[in-house]
């Protein structure tokens, strides 16, 4: 993260100062030292930039093909292209939105709730770093990296209304949702001066390393609202078996790999903190896979492939806010617990209430995200992340394990705001879209399948 990079820089420059002292201010040596300092900065910048561009690509890979395959395999075969198109549409549509004004609304300074329009049309976003966010990489790298988060977040929601939403309604809903829910939430947590930003002057400092509140709570809770508003699929719950867990399996494993870009990339540099987040991410995913499979083994008598991959995703979700703040053993614990809790949410709670959150966007992202955000307040430690310093320059206590129990409350406030914004924003937007272009496919179209009725294609043409 920023501080770690600065630290490295500090050590190097003090070494340079030492050299300067020895050399007694010889102009030629001065010039040499200045050159050396520039070279050191350039080298670090090159290293950080390489990792951050890789991370940006990894996060895009999570949406397409990761999420597209994961969700695509879980639907019936007549809906595979329609489902994949929803993810793909986010890659195209949100990118345009981000360039026009999205980045600015999320990361312009603005108010505590939303950014201003200083970066509209990406004005002033070039190769110079923005030291508020990431001092060693071009702001353009930061911008494109953050874009990938804005793409996957609405993509996650599509799991809740799978197999029954019109393409036009889906596109308009998710476009408005990104503007009125995602941009404000991203600004509040990560934007300069944002209400919940723990590092840049937020009123309620909430730790969210890679998007537990911003990405997973907002998408997961909005998903539940969508599932309730749209109602069940025609014929639910009979005959809704996933058509290809093989595709879902590939998608989930791509998500796992892509998540290293998501979490370790959130260190915004190729630093020790990035490694720490990488390790926490991996450990949580592994433990969660075991947790979900174990619960299933005991509950149903068989550990399933779908259970294993769902568990891994649940663990990845839960560790997301915590990844840059916790040690490996708490990461294992958070992951394992997420595997159990999310299994309980989809296999017990969902069945009991009977809502059709088709691909469990709420059960996994809403529940796992909330669990992870709160546990971040428990396990965050300055032994992992020492970015925040007190007046004397000492790292401040972060979570309960550091002796700062109040952080748990801050995390709960952060979750509460994310839940509230997601519920209200989603309801209003759904209503508006429902009254204008409409949300649900006709019964005939839904029965025929999205591929044919919405796109005029078939996903599988085996006789050709």
């Amino acid at each position: 993260m920023i501080s770690e990079n600065r630290c490295r820089m500090l050590r190097l420059s003090s070494f340079c100062v030492l050299l300067a002292g020895v050399a007694q201010a010889d102009p030629a040596t001065d010039a040499k030292i200045a050159g050396l300092e520039t070279a050191v900065k350039a080298a670090q910048s090159a290293g950080d930039n390489a990792w951050m561009m890789t991370s940006a690509a990894l996060v895009l890979m999570m949406t397409g093909p990761g999420l597209a395959l994961f969700y695509g395999g879980l639907v019936r075969k007549k809906n595979i292209l329609g489902t994949m198109m929803q993810s793909f549409m986010m890659m195209a549509m949100i990118t345009v939105l981000w360039g026009l004004f999205g980045y600015s609304l999320a990361f312009g300074e603005g108010s505590a709730f939303l950014g201003d329009l200083r970066y509209m049309f990406l004005e002033g976003v070039g190769s110079a770093p923005n030291p508020d966010y990431a001092g060693t990489i071009p702001q353009q790298t930061f911008m494109v990296y953050q874009l990938m988060f804005a793409i996957i977040t609405p993509g996650l929601i599509t799991g809740a209304f799978a197999e029954r939403m019109k393409f036009s309604g889906m596109a308009l809903f998710l476009l408005l949702w990104t503007v009125f829910v995602y941009f404000p939430m991203a600004h509040m947590v990560w934007g300069k001066g944002g209400l919940l930003n723990a590092f840049l002057g937020g009123k309620f400092p909430c730790f969210d390393f890679a998007g537990g509140t911003v990405v997973h709570i907002t998408s997961g809770v909005s998903a539940l609202v969508c599932a309730l508003y749209l109602g069940k699929r025609v014929g639910f719950p009979e005959g809704m078996k996933p058509h290809s867990l093989t595709l879902s399996f590939i998608g989930a494993c791509l998500l796992w790999v892509g998540w290293f870009g998501f979490n370790a990339g959130s260190a915004l540099g190729a630093s020790g903190l990035a490694t720490s987040a990488f390790v926490a991410t991996h450990f949580a995913a592994a433990a969660a896979a075991l947790g979900w499979m174990g619960a299933e083994w005991i509950g149903n008598g068989k550990p399933s492939a779908l259970g294993g991959i769902s568990g891994a995703v649940a663990g990845l979700v839960a560790i997301t806010p915590a990844s840059g703040f916790v040690k490996p053993m708490p990461a294992l614990f958070i992951g394992f617990l997420a595997g159990l809790v999310c299994y309980f949410m989809v296999a017990v709670v969902k069945q009991k209430f009977g809502y059709d959150d088709s691909l469990d966007a709420f059960g996994v992202h809403g529940a796992g995200g909330t669990l992870g955000a709160i546990l971040t307040g428990v396990f965050a430690t300055n032994a992992v992340n020492d970015t925040l310093k007190d007046a004397a320059g000492k790292p401040v206590a972060l979570g309960l394990v550091d002796g700062n129990g109040a952080q748990v409350m801050n995390q709960i406030i952060g979750c509460g705001i994310a839940w509230g914004l997601a519920i209200v924003g989603t309801l209003v937007i759904l209503k508006v879209v429902d009254m204008t272009v409409g949300l649900r496919m006709t019964k005939e179209a839904e029965t025929q399948g999205m591929d044919l009725s919405l796109h005029g294609e078939e996903g599988y043409i085996l006789e050709s």
């Binding site: 078996k241 017990v348 969902k350 069945q351």
Partner: protein
């Protein structure tokens, strides 16, 4: 001429084909079918959603044998397809009125 129609376990197909070939059968039709007899179906669970699957995948073999070869082919088929477990399938035998080779119009056993 008789038609033998065997519904067998899919994993037994190769063994049955090999055995039939060894007895000199050189034409038959195979299709993937679904059904159930006494074996019944099974339960599948996807994230807690239970589905009962009533029809199980089976393989159907159809072949027509000349009158003098029916017993031998039937015995071969029975032997190769049997595991002794429920679900091994069934064989149905039909009288065949005639057979015609489309290419040259051969009739009866000459068309087999």
């Amino acid at each position: 001429m008789k038609k033998l129609e065997g519904i067998i376990q899919p994993f037994k197909l190769q063994e049955v084909l090999d055995a039939l070939k060894a007895t000199g059968v050189d034409g038959l039709t195979v299709s993937e079918v679904k059904g159930h007899g006494r074996q019944k179906g099974h339960k599948e669970v996807y994230r807690g959603m239970e589905y009962n699957v009533d029809f199980l995948p089976k393989t159907k073999i159809e072949l027509v044998a000349a009158e003098g070869r029916v017993d031998e082919i039937l015995a071969t088929l029975l032997k190769a397809a049997r595991t002794g477990q429920i679900g091994d399938g069934k064989i149905f035998i039909y009288e065949v009125v005639d057979a015609i080779r489309i290419r040259n119009g051969d009739r009866g056993e000459a068309a087999l």
